[in-house]
């Protein structure tokens, strides 16, 4: 469905991002004044919650640490319950520039897609990536694209926009631990239309990638297994509007 003035929110999962979260919110306020920021504090032990406590910003404080999947889903539940038409997922570490949100939501505004993934790899932008990581990315691209039956170049990108239909699905079913690639398969298999656009991303302002080299084997096995099994699940129905 196309809206003239859709209600848009940005779901921002944050775990110990006291250095970055303020900048993320500033960036959002400056570049997307109409977008409601929903910060999901995943039980941070630093000042993330205090930094995110601003008028006009929704702050959801999880009483225990759920990990990225559970945190994002909390924000999506809020978005669904409060009637948002489009939800954009933006990392709390400052990787995702707010000036790209406009182009990310465009395909949904036009009614061309339910899910828009911001990709770093759609156009050559000269991201420097270690060889092992590059191999992993390319394996995931092949596996996820064939299971989802749609080409996705950046399967681990957490910079995404969701239509209300996609939000209604994800509010009920959102994968845990490293959820991004699996979510693509789940969404595609449930008939949601996925498209990718090229985005520019910043280098991390603080912290590290959530995936270290030691965990990457476990990561690949877990993601491929759950994505493959997700492809065998029968389609389900998401949350219903009252």
């Amino acid at each position: 469905m196309a809206h003239v003035n859709p209600k848009i929110c940005a779901v921002i999962p944050a775990f110990n991002e006291e250095d970055a979260i303020g900048l993320v919110l500033d960036d959002l306020a400056a570049n997307c004044p109409g977008v409601t920021a929903i910060v999901v504090d995943d039980h941070s032990t630093d000042a993330t919650a205090e930094r995110a406590h601003r008028p006009g910003t929704v702050l959801l404080s999880l009483p225990i640490n759920l990990g990225i999947g559970g945190a994002v889903q909390t924000g999506l539940k809020y978005a669904f319950d409060h009637g948002f038409d489009i939800a954009v997922q933006v990392d709390g570490d400052g990787q995702h520039p707010a000036d790209q949100i406009g182009s990310l939501v465009e395909p949904i505004r036009d009614g061309r897609a339910d899910v828009v993934i911001g990709s770093r790899f759609l156009e050559a932008q000269g991201y420097r990536i270690r060889r092992g990581r590059r191999a992993g990315i390319s394996v995931l691209r092949t596996v996820v694209s064939s299971l989802a039956r749609v080409t996705v170049t950046d399967t681990t990108s957490g910079f995404r926009a969701y239509s209300r239909r996609a939000v209604s699905f994800l509010a009920e079913y959102y994968p845990q631990d490293y959820p991004e690639p699996e979510a693509i398969v789940e969404l595609a298999r449930n008939g949601l239309h996925i498209t990718e656009i090229s985005v520019r991303m910043n280098l991390r302002k603080g912290g590290q990638s959530s995936i270290g080299a030691r965990d990457s084997v476990y990561y690949m096995v877990k993601v491929i297994l759950s994505a493959a099994l997700a492809a065998t699940r029968a389609p389900v129905v998401g949350r219903k509007d009252e």
Binding site: V58, L60, S61, T74, Y78, Q176
Partner: protein, 120 residues
């Protein structure tokens, strides 16, 4: 089977069974999880008492050394119990996630409306 080892086997498996019953009675173990333990220990008690059963089963499945059957059955029940446990754990983690999310959403709602309420 020698008499001595049979007495030990009966005592140990019956003791384990009684312990499981005790845990359920004291509400330390939920009955739904206790059932699999009871079934396992009951099977152990039966094969400990009924000596011929083990030999018959061993013959039936073509195992030459009868106690190996006991070992096999024991390991099988152990694995079954472990699987049951991880399933229960997954469900628990899921429910815990849902509760935490509901709590965060309710808290936000309370914070927002709490400030509008006079005297709050």
């Amino acid at each position: 089977m020698e008499m001595r080892i049979q007495i030990i086997a009966i005592t140990a498996s019956a003791g384990l069974m009684l312990w499981v019953l005790h845990l359920i009675r004291q509400r330390i173990l939920r009955a739904e999880y206790g059932i699999i333990w009871l079934a396992g220990t009951a099977a152990l008690v039966i094969v400990s008492i009924w000596r011929g059963l083990l030999d018959r089963i061993a013959n039936l499945v073509g195992v030459y050394y009868a106690p190996a059957v006991l070992l096999l059955v024991g390991i099988f029940f152990g694995i079954l119990g472990f699987l049951h446990m991880t399933v229960a754990l997954s469900r628990l983690a899921d429910q815990q996630k849902k509760l935490a999310q509901e709590l965060a959403l309710l808290q936000e709602n309370l914070n927002r409306h709490g400030s509008d309420t006079p005297g709050a």
